[in-house]
């Protein structure tokens, strides 16, 4: 016999073989025995859980020569015909391609004729939500007055797209996603029968990847058999799925616990040279941290989707963390996961992420902080208030990742003891931010010490260089940045002014704050804070206040002109005729 894919070969042929939908199959069977068969059924649920299969079995059960029976014989002529899709009285219609009013009208025409050989004429409409509104209305009329010899079975993944009028005339069955254990059970059954040797862990991986769909799981198993042959081992599965083994994650948490930066960086190196996908790794890491968090919070093994020996390991390891730490670590990793998608250099981002995880201080509870706060002297409190508002009081490493350069020129000496916890009474309430981490790594610190004093003039003279540097990083940002001018530098904050008409550019530039900061750091060798202002805002802020009092039409032309218009005038040698609008003249 020709080769048949597993998903087809193992397609259930009776209600009892349908996996994990007992609430549906049991009810359908009872309905047949007690002869309470509705006119129309609606099967809903995610893909690959058995909707169409159940519909076919139901059709067989109704039409089987020995039937209607809850257990179709599967060898009478009608059962065989239904299985092979040749039965004239069981019509399978794909709603996605027969969605128009004409097809439904056609259906209504044919529906009047009694079945040719079977007891019922059964219409199975797959993907019924794809029908057009007109088609639904036409169908509704049939559903309102169904001929006694007709039964409808609709299947859909998106019941909310089916009109309420149709829904209320169908008996609806919700198919569940198939639980992990049941998928594994079914896979085991298949393996035993097909002479495939597979260990539990590989089956777990397959089942997880299938995400609740048995058909997907069976197809994956098929692929694996082609890839590894009849003996499936977990290493090969990991390779085939390019997945990261759970052991690696445990290794990483061990490294984090040991606070061992060198091993941490080696870890990243190994990971990348082994060819793992960084995104997949981060997703797995979140899953891993989440498992730790929930083993800690609930001590309940049921919440963990992993094999037995790992479950015990999770419970063991989780005790070494606190809930707050794990929450923050998840936040750090998911931030990285987000950023890495847009990053030109994902590896660096990953390293920074691991670094932050390692350098992250174990958390202090809020109550402790409050106690310490109340012990502070009043002048220290005043100092704290002067800090930029973006910096939170509680240690929050993830936000520091955003605010890399926002701290006022803080220089942490390179020799700072990495393991020393910050002394909250004397030091500002920060954990080492990512920028500090950079500085504290040897080699970088020296460069920074040779820093020029910063003035607004320095920025003005270097402005073009900064733009050029930005251009190298991302061209469009530099284009927008050109619209702005550095206007003021005080308290380590550089103000860049945009004309009020350039709001769009301003927004775009704001979004790339980090990038510009990096450019500035490259050129002037120091981290500053950035503030973007619109020019009308600038007026309100001081320097140009006297102009506001002037009558509108007497404002000196030179000062009022939009820079763009000025350039136009320069190019075309034009002049301004009226003040209401600009009319250039060549």
């Amino acid at each position: 016999m020709a080769y048949q894919v597993l998903a087809l070969k193992w397609r259930p042929s009776g209600f009892d073989q349908v996996v994990a939908q007992d609430h549906v199959t049991q009810t359908l069977k009872n309905a047949i025995t007690s002869n309470r068969i509705a006119n129309a059924y609606l099967f809903t649920g995610p893909r690959g859980v058995g909707k169409t299969t159940t519909a076919r079995i139901f059709a067989k059960a109704l039409n089987c020569k020995e039937g209607p029976t809850p257990n179709p014989c599967n060898h009478c002529s009608i059962c065989l015909k239904i299985t092979s899709g040749q039965c004239l009285d069981v019509l399978e219609i794909d709603g996605a391609s027969n969605r128009g009013i004409d097809e439904i009208r056609n259906l209504r025409e044919n529906i009047r004729y009694v079945p040719s050989s079977a007891k019922f004429k059964i219409y199975i409409v797959d993907e019924v939500h794809m029908l057009t509104t007109e088609a639904f209305n036409a169908l509704l009329k049939t559903l309102e007055e169904p001929p006694p010899h007709v039964r409808f079975i609709f299947a859909t993944t998106e019941p909310h797209k089916v009109p309420a009028t149709i829904l209320s005339r169908c008996q609806r069955f919700d198919f569940k996603r198939i639980p992990l254990e049941r998928i594994i059970g079914q896979l085991k059954l298949i393996c035993d029968n097909e002479n495939i040797q597979a260990d539990d862990e590989s089956l777990l991986l397959v089942a997880k990847k299938a995400d609740g769909s048995l058909r997907d799981a069976e197809s994956l198993l098929d692929q694996l058999v082609s890839f590894c042959g009849p003996e499936i081992k977990v290493d090969e599965v990991l390779k085939a799925f390019s997945a990261v083994s759970q052991d690696l994650y445990f290794q990483l948490t061990d490294i984090i616990l040991a606070n061992d930066i060198r091993t941490g960086l080696n870890f990243v190196d190994n990971l990348i040279s082994a060819g793992h996908d960084i995104n997949e790794f981060l997703m797995g890491l979140i899953e891993h941290l989440r498992n730790l968090l929930f083993s800690l919070a609930t001590e309940d093994k049921k919440l963990l989707e992993t094999s037995e020996n790992y479950k015990t390991r999770y419970l063991e390891v989780s005790g070494k963390f606190t809930q707050e730490d794990l929450l923050r670590m998840i936040q750090i990793v998911s931030d990285t996961e987000f950023k890495i998608k847009k990053s030109p250099n994902p590896r660096v981002k990953l390293e920074m992420c691991i670094f932050t995880l390692l350098k992250m201080n174990r958390s202090v509870t809020l109550t402790q902080v409050i106690e310490q706060l109340s012990g502070l002297k009043s002048d220290t409190v005043a100092d704290l208030k002067n800090k930029p508002s973006g910096v939170p009081v509680t240690p929050q490493p993830s936000q520091h990742a955003h605010a890399v350069a926002r701290e006022p020129g803080q220089k942490v000496s390179g020799q700072a003891d990495q393991k020393k916890k910050p002394d909250y009474l004397n030091q500002p309430y920060f954990e080492p931010s990512v920028s500090e981490i950079h500085e504290s790594s040897p080699g970088v610190a020296e460069e920074i010490s040779a820093q020029p004093t910063l003035t607004i003039d320095l920025f003005k003279t270097k402005w073009q260089e900064i733009i050029a540097n930005v251009q190298k990083r991302r061209v469009f940002v530099s284009v927008f940045l050109k619209e702005g001018q550095p206007v003021q530098f005080s308290e380590n904050t550089l103000k860049i002014e945009f004309h009020s008409e350039n709001g769009f550019q301003l927004e775009a530039v704001k979004k790339n704050r980090d990038l510009i900061l990096q450019a500035i750091q490259d050129i002037v060798g120091s981290t500053v804070q950035l503030e973007f202002i619109k020019s009308d805002q600038a007026k309100k802020n001081g320097e140009m206040i006297e102009e506001q009092d002037m009558p509108h039409n007497r404002i000196p032309v030179q000062k009022k002109i939009d820079p763009k218009v000025k350039r136009l005038i320069d190019i075309f040698e034009g002049e301004i005729l009226t003040n209401g609008g600009y009319h250039g003249k060549t």
């Binding site: 609430h23 919700d174 979140i286 929930f294 998840i330």
Partner: protein
């Protein structure tokens, strides 16, 4: 005339030449029209003596013509016009004219959804036709109806089970009947349907799990709420929807707290907040689990989670799980 009165009359053998059914309970309309059909049209002559028109596509003149034609081998002919409200204005007027002098051998059944009975056409119809109002049942009437329905089929159902069904599905009879039919098949030989049956069969579909989640959160049981959450996501529940339902829940707890602090009685709370009695006691108990201050914090958490889900870069499951963790433990994070 109410539907129930109509049934009494038709059972007593009284009938009129024109009926006008309207209202939002399709079940009653279907049943009522079914009664008329079964009374006047035998199944063998249905092809000749029963005609169905749809307002949106029918020609009123044709309807009137059919109504005037003589029944074949029977005493009465039945003409049904569905979606009467969608017939053209002139068409409606023509039908009204017919109603003034209807054919005595025809029963014309007009069916419309909820319509404004003050409109001219309907005012005229009121005078000449028997208007049957098919309104949805009130909360208190539904259990009686369902029990009667189940008893007619030779089984029984517990009141608590009906309440749960009602809380889940609302008062739409078609849906209730559908689920009840399903339940009767599900329990098979068992005589009485109880709450566990409803939970097992109906609970698998959506809303019920939300209630379970509420209960678990109300008891501050983290592992249970996480398990329910996982189950919900597995059945394909949308995560934004879960956050919305949690918001509803905590708003309700908040309102209960504020009413209770003004010494409002339990039943009064239920009425004011329109909480179904099935959930009332439990809700009031759960409201004691969270202080007003906590609820405020939780609102913030819910908002954050909502934003996270919609700007979606974290896995939705992780966002929700962390949300539950923070709600139950009251721990601040990130």
């Amino acid at each position: 005339m109410k539907y129930q009165d109509f049934i009494k009359e038709i059972l007593a053998g009284k009938f009129v030449p024109v009926y006008f059914f309207y209202g939002d309970e399709i079940y009653f309309i279907d049943e009522g029209v079914g009664k008329i059909e079964s009374k006047f049209v035998s199944s063998s002559s249905a092809n000749f003596n029963r005609d169905v028109f749809y307002g949106e596509e029918a020609d009123a003149a044709q309807i009137v013509n059919t109504a005037f034609s003589i029944p074949m081998m029977a005493t009465q002919r039945v003409v049904i016009v569905k979606n009467f409200q969608r017939l053209s204005q002139s068409g409606k007027e023509l039908i009204v004219k017919y109603c003034n002098r209807p054919s005595p051998q025809t029963i014309l059944v007009l069916i419309a959804e909820n319509v404004d009975m003050r409109k001219k056409v309907y005012v005229a119809l009121k005078k000449t036709a028997q208007v049957v109002e098919c309104k949805s049942l009130y909360d208190a009437q539904v259990p009686v109806f369902i029990r009667q329905y189940v008893n007619d089929k030779g089984k029984d159902i517990r009141l608590s089970a009906i309440h749960l069904l009602q809380a889940k599905l609302g008062n739409s009879l078609n849906e209730l009947i559908n689920e009840t039919d399903k339940l009767m098949s599900f329990v098979s030989d068992k005589q009485v349907i109880d709450v566990t049956d409803v939970e097992e069969l109906v609970g698998i579909s959506r809303n019920y799990n939300v209630f379970q989640l509420w209960d678990a959160l109300g008891a501050r049981n983290l592992s249970k709420s996480l398990l329910i959450l996982r189950q919900m996501l597995e059945t394909g529940e949308r995560s934004v929807g879960i956050v919305t339902s949690l918001t509803t829940y905590f708003l309700r707890l908040w309102r209960i707290r504020s009413l209770k602090s003004q010494n409002v009685s339990n039943s009064e709370v239920g009425k004011k907040l329109r909480i179904h009695q099935f959930f009332l006691q439990a809700s009031i108990k759960q409201a004691q689990q969270y202080s007003t201050k906590e609820i405020k914090k939780i609102m913030r958490l819910l908002l954050d989670a909502d934003i996270h889900l919609k700007s979606s870069y974290q896995s939705q499951r992780v966002v929700l799980e962390l949300l539950l963790l923070q709600i139950v433990t009251g721990k601040k994070s990130i």
